[in-house]
C-alpha cells in the first residue's frame, strides 16, 4: 500500500493549479490527511480527458471500423489503449500516423537501446512536469529492463544521458539558443559521446515528448488507470494527482458552462468566418509594404512574449518530477521577462521539407518519412467545417495557427503576412496557444473553455494537434540546424 501514502504528500505541491478545482483540492487534502493511510482507491476518471465530457469522446465500442482497427493495432502493440489515443481518436487519420511514428520511435530498430528511449521520454516529459507521460514511461522503462535506480534522478543515470539534460532543457524552453557547440559537446565527449544517429534519435524523442506533453496538458488528459490505481509496480511518489482532479473534470460543471457561453458568445464563429472571407478577398487589393510586413512579424513575435501565460505565477515544479531534470527554474517565462530578443529564423533557409527531412532520413532511416507524413497530416487535416458550418476552407486559419506557433519560436516565413494572425486569432485563443506551447503545465480548464466557445471538442482537439506538431517541428528545426552546422 505504498501508493496510499503518497498522494497525500503530493497534494500540497500539486503542480496543476486548476483554480476552479482548488477548493475541492483543499477539501480532498483535508480528507486525505484525516484518513491517512487508509484511503481506498476510488474509481478513477470519467473518461480520458478532464476537459472534454466523457460522452463527447468516442466510445471504443461504437467507433467506425477504421478507428476500431487503429485502436486494435495500438492495443496489440502496447498492450493498452492510452487516453491520448482515445482523445486523438477524434481524428483517426492523424492517430494512425501518430501511433505508427511513436511505435517506430520506441519499439522498432533504432540506434538507441529501448530503455534509453523511455528514459529520454521521461526526461522530456518531466521538463514540462507532465506526470501523465512520466508515469506511463516509468512503467515502460522498467518493463524493458531499465535500472530502477535511474529513476531517482538524472544524477543516477549514466553520464551519457546526463549530458543530454542540457539539450533537453534548452530544447524545451528556448530552442533558438541551441548552437552547434551544444551538439559538439554531446558528439565529442570521449567515452560518453553520442553518435550522430543516436543523437538524432534522442532529439526526435525529446521533441516528440515535449510536444506530446503540450497535448496532454492542452487536452487535460487524465492519468491512466493503472498508473494511478497502482496496479503495477512503480515508484509511488510519482503519482501526482489528487484523485479529485480526475473525478471532477467531467460532468455537470461543463454543461453549465456551455449554456452560459452560448448566449454570451453567439456569433463568434460567424465573425471569424467573415474575417477569413474578407482577408481572402482584399489581400490582393491592399498591398502592405515590405517594412510593414517585417514589423508585423516582429510585433507578433514580441506580443507573443507578453501574452500572460497563466494566472498562477507562483507555480513551482514538484520535487518528484523535477528530479528528472536539472535547473527547474529554467523556463520560457524567465526569458520573456528579461525581454531578450528572439533571433529570427528564416524558414526558407532551413525548412523541414528540404533540409530537416534529408538529415533525419540520412541518419535514422524511415523516421524522416514518418515525421514528414505526420506533419503533413496535421497541417492538411480538415473536414471543411467550422463549428456548425459546413464547406468552409479552413486552410487560412490552420496556417495562421501554425505560423503563430512558429512565430513564437522566432521562425519567420517570408511569404506570410503576419497581420492575418491578429485578424484570426483572438486574445483568449492566443493565451491558450501560448500557454500550451511554452508552459503547458499551466494550462487550465478555464483556458480550454474560454477560447472558441462554440466550436466542438473535436475541433479543439484538432487545434491541439496542430499546436503539438507545429511545436515539434519548430524544435526539430532548431536542433537539426545545429546538427547540420556541426556537420559542415
Amino acid at each position: 500500500m505504498r501508493h496510499a501514502v503518497a498522494p497525500a504528500q503530493n497534494v500540497e505541491n500539486n503542480s496543476i493549479a486548476v483554480t476552479d478545482l482548488f477548493k475541492i483540492c483543499n477539501h480532498c487534502e483535508r480528507l486525505s490527511k484525516k484518513d491517512l493511510g487508509v484511503r481506498i482507491p476510488r474509481p478513477l476518471g470519467n473518461g480520458p480527458s478532464r476537459f472534454i465530457p466523457e460522452k463527447e469522446i468516442l466510445q471504443v465500442s461504437k467507433v467506425d471500423s477504421r478507428t476500431q482497427s487503429i485502436f486494435e493495432d495500438a492495443f496489440a502493440a502496447l498492450g493498452r489503449l492510452d487516453n491520448i489515443s482515445l482523445v486523438m481518436g477524434f481524428h483517426p487519420q492523424y492517430l494512425e500516423s501518430f501511433l505508427r511514428t511513436q511505435h517506430y520511435l520506441l519499439q522498432m530498430d533504432g540506434p538507441l537501446p529501448l530503455h534509453y528511449r523511455h528514459y529520454i521520454g521521461i526526461m522530456a516529459a518531466a521538463r514540462h512536469q507532465c506526470s501523465y507521460l512520466v508515469n506511463l514511461h516509468v512503467n515502460d522503462f522498467l518493463q524493458v529492463g531499465g535500472d530502477a535506480k535511474w529513476l531517482n534522478g538524472l544524477g543516477e543515470a549514466p553520464q551519457k544521458l546526463q549530458q543530454l539534460g542540457e539539450l533537453n532543457k534548452i530544447l524545451a524552453h528556448r530552442p533558438w539558443l541551441i548552437t552547434k557547440e551544444h551538439m559538439e559537446a554531446l558528439l565529442k565527449a570521449e567515452e560518453h559521446s553520442w553518435s550522430l544517429a543516436e543523437l538524432i534519435h534522442a532529439v526526435v524523442l525529446l521533441t516528440h515528448y515535449h510536444s506530446l506533453a503540450s497535448f496532454t496538458f492542452g487536452c487535460g488528459i487524465t492519468p491512466e488507470i493503472h498508473c494511478d490505481g497502482g496496479h503495477t509496480f512503480r515508484p509511488p511518489s510519482l503519482s501526482q494527482y489528487c484523485v479529485c482532479d480526475i473525478a471532477n473534470g467531467n460532468g455537470h460543471a461543463n454543461q453549465h458552462d456551455d449554456q452560459l457561453c452560448d448566449q454570451d458568445m453567439c456569433g463568434e464563429v460567424e465573425v471569424l468566418m467573415e474575417r477569413m472571407k474578407q482577408l481572402q478577398e482584399c489581400r490582393d487589393d491592399e498591398e502592405a509594404s515590405q517594412e510593414e510586413m517585417a514589423t508585423r512579424f516582429e510585433r507578433e513575435k514580441t506580443e507573443s512574449m507578453l501574452v500572460v501565460t497563466s494566472e498562477d505565477e507562483e507555480c513551482v515544479p514538484s520535487r518528484d518530477i523535477s528530479r528528472h531534470f536539472e535547473d527547474p527554474s529554467y523556463g520560457y517565462k524567465d526569458f520573456s521577462r528579461r525581454g531578450e530578443h528572439v533571433p529570427t529564423f528564416r524558414a526558407q533557409d532551413y525548412s523541414w521539407e528540404d533540409h530537416g527531412y534529408s538529415l533525419v532520413n540520412r541518419l535514422y532511416p524511415d523516421v524522416g518519412q514518418m515525421l514528414d507524413e505526420k506533419f503533413q497530416m496535421a497541417y492538411n487535416l480538415t473536414y471543411n467545417t467550422m463549428a456548425t458550418h459546413k464547406d468552409v476552407d479552413t486552410s487560412m486559419l490552420r496556417r495562421a495557427i501554425w505560423n503563430y506557433i512558429h512565430c513564437m519560436f522566432g521562425i519567420r516565413y517570408d511569404d506570410y503576412d503576419y497581420g492575418e494572425i491578429n485578424q484570426l486569432l483572438d486574445r483568449s485563443f492566443k493565451i491558450y496557444i501560448k500557454t500550451m506551447v511554452c508552459s503547458p503545465e499551466k494550462t487550465t480548464k478555464r483556458m480550454y473553455e474560454s477560447f472558441w466557445r462554440q466550436f466542438q471538442h473535436s475541433e479543439k482537439v484538432h487545434v491541439n494537434l496542430l499546436l503539438m506538431e507545429a511545436r515539434m517541428q519548430a524544435e526539430l528545426l532548431y536542433a537539426l540546424r545545429a546538427i547540420t552546422r556541426y556537420m559542415t
Binding site: 486494435e72 489581400r283 528540404d354 538529415l359 516565413y413 511569404d415 556537420m487 559542415t488
Partner: protein
Amino acid sequence: MEKMSRVTTALSSNTISGKTMFCHLDAPANAISVCRDASQVVVAGRNIFKIYTIEEEQFVEKLNLRVGRKPSLNFSCADVMWHQMEENLLATAATNGAVVTWNLGKPSRNKQDQLFTEHKRTVNKVCFHPTEVYMLLSGSQDGLMKCFDLRKKESVSTFSGQSESVRDVQFSMKDFTFAASFENGNVQLWDIRRPDRYERMFTAHTGPVFCCDWHPDDRGWLATGGRDKMVKVWDMTTNRAKEIYCVQTIASVARVKWRPEKRFHLATCSMMVDHNIYVWDIRRPFIPFATFEEHKDVTTGIVWRHQHDPDFLLSGSKDSTLYQHMFKDATRPVDKANPEGLCFGLMGDLAFAAKESLINSDTNRKPYAGGDRRNPLFFFKKTDPTEQFAHVSSALTIYETDFDSNHMDWFVSTAQRYLLSGKPFAELCDHNAKVARELKRPQVSTTWTMLRIMFSDPANLPAAGLNHSLSKLGSLPLMNSFSLKDSGLGTESRLERSKGDNRQDNIHLEAGNSHISNNNEENEETEGSDGPAECMFGDAELDDDDLYSMDHENQAEEQEYTLPQEGFQLRHEIVDNPSAPEHFQQDKADSPHVSGNEAEVPCLTPIESFSLISISQPLFTHHLPASFFCPIVREMLSYYAEQGDVQMAVSVLIVLGEKIRKEIDDLTQEHWYMSYIDMLQRFELWNVSNEVIKLSTCSAITCLNQTSTTLHINCSNCKRPMSSKGWMCDRCHQCASICAVCHHVVKGLFVWCQGCSHGGHLEHIMNWLKSSAHCPAGCGHLCEYT
C-alpha cells in the same frame, strides 16, 4: 550609365579562357545565372544580389543590385535567371512570393523593372523562354505556375498543377512545352498555350522533385532530381514517359544541369550534407565522372558558363563563395577507384576482374592446372570517341580450384557434426576430436584432445602416461639437445632455450617451423601448419614431437594421409587410457626415417627438442591450473584463424567458453564469429549458423538473431497481407490460422502442408501425422511431415 555601357561592351570575345578561381561573397548564395556570352554572372541570395564579371584571373564585382537602406523582401531571392537573348534583362523569384524583373539598362541605381506579386507563397523558380523574348514563367509554393508577358502588368495565364508546391519549371528548348516538378514527386508537362490542363503527368520520385532540366539537344530527354537521392533521365518522346537512366547519389539532389556538348553528362549538387558537385556519365551511374570538391558548405547553384563550352562550371554556395571550376582540375573518382575486383568463391574458386588491357599485356600469365575459364565482360558495346572514362571494358577471369585437392566437404561435415554445447566439457572435446579424426584432420583432433587434457580436472590428467613416455624414450642429455637444436633454429631460439623457458621455446619453434613448411610446400592443406599449433599445447612437451612428425608428413607427401591415420588409432587408445605420450612416442619411433631423409632443418631438430622436453618435464607439476594454458590457447586460436580455419577458432571458443573468453579481445572474437557465420551461411548451414549465433557471447553477434525476425503472411481467407497480427486478419476479421487438429487459433509456430496448405500447431500436426497419413483437415490430401 557608365556601368551599363561597360556591361554591354563586355560581350566581346568568343573564346573563353580562365582557371579555377573563386571569390568571397558577402552572404550565402541561393542561385546563380550567367549571361549569354558567358562574361558575367549574377549571384542571388537572401542578402546578396550582385553581378560579377568573369575575368581571366578573377571575379570582379560589377554591380550591386541590392540597393536601398533597408532592402525589402523583394530582394530576398530564391532564384535568379539571366535572359538568354536580352542582355539587360534579369528575373528573380523572391521568398515572399514576388516575381521581379530587372533592367540593367536603367539609368537609376535601382534597376528594378517590374514587380509581380500574384503568387501567395514563396516563388521557387523563374524561367525565361529561350526564344520568346517577353515570356517569363514562374513556379511557386502555392502550387501555381504563372506565365508573364513582360509587356503587360500582370500574368497572362495561370497553370494550376492541382497538386502540391512547384519546385522547378523549365522550358523545353524548342517548342512551347514546359516541365514542372512538384513537391509530391510528380512532374507535369504543359503547353504554354493551354493553361486549362496539363498535357501529361507522371510520378518521377518519392518525395519532392527539387529540379529538372531538359537536354540541350532537342531529344526530349528530361533529367529530374529529387529528395530520394536519385537523378532520373526520362524519355518524353514516347507516349509514356520512360525512365531511361537512373543515377543514385548520396544525398538529396538540389540542382541538375546537363553538360553542354556532352551527350551523356550532367552535373548535380545536393541539398544537404554533401558539398561536392558531381558530373555524372549517366551510362555509368555508380561512380561520378568528375567531382569538384572546393565548397565548404552546400552548393546551392550550378551553371555551365557557356552553353557550348563543357569545360567551365560556375557554382555558388552557402559558404559565401563563388567558384569557377575548370574541368581539367576536377577530381576523377574513377582514377582513384580500384579497377580490379577479386572474390573467392565458396569452393575456393577465385574470380578476378580487371581492365582488359592489363590482362592482355600480362604475358607472364601461366596456364593453370585446373579449369581456367576466361569470361570477358564488356560494359560498353562500342567505345565512343568522346568517352573520357579511362577504361571502359574489363575482363573477368575465373580460376577454378583443382577439383579433388580442395574440397570443402570437411568444413561442412565438421560444422554439422561438431558438438558445441549440451554436454560436459570433456565429452564435447572428445566428440569433436573424434569427428576431426574421422575426417582425417589429425592435428585438429589432437588439438581437441589436448584441450580436454589441459582444461579438464587435474585428477584426470594422464600422469602415468607421461612417465611412461619418459621411460620409453630413455634419456638424452639435456645439453645435447640444446646444441642440436641450435644448429637448426638459430641463435635467437637458442637464447630463449638457454633461459629454460620451455613454452617460449615452443612458440619460437612454431614460428620457424611453419615458415619452413610453407616454403617447402605450396599445398593449401599444409598439414605441417597444424603441427605448430599443437606444439603450443605442450603441457606435456611431447607435442613437439607430434609437431615434427607432422612436418615430416608434409615433406614426404605420399605419406600425408597414412601417417596421421596411424597416429589416430593410437590416439584413440590414449583417450580411453590416458597414455598420450606413448602414442607420440610411437609416432616418433616411426618417424626417424623421415628425419634421416630430410637432413635439412625441421626434421632433425624435433627429435632433439622432443627429448629435451621430455626430460625437462618433471620440472612442472602435473596439476597446472587451467589458466596457465590460456596464453598458449589464445595463440593457438589466432593461429588457426590466420590459417583460414576460423571454424576451429570459433568452435574452441564456444566449447571453452568462460575459460578462454577473457583472454581474447572482443573485436577479434566478433570478427571470428562473423567470418564463421558468413561461411556457414554461404554453405546454407542455417541451423549451425543459428546455433553459433545463439552460443556466442558477443552482444554484436547474439543480436543478429533478433534482427529481421518479421515474417510476412497473407490471410488464408482473403489472400491479403496481414499487417498487424499474425493470427487475425484486419480485413475479413477472421482468425486466419486455425489449427486443423484442435481448431484453436495458432499464435506461435504454425506449420502447414505445402500440398494442401492445411496446418496447425507444430506439435499437434507432428502427433497427428504419426498416426495418420491424411491431412487432419479432412481434405484427403496425403500430407508428409519431415
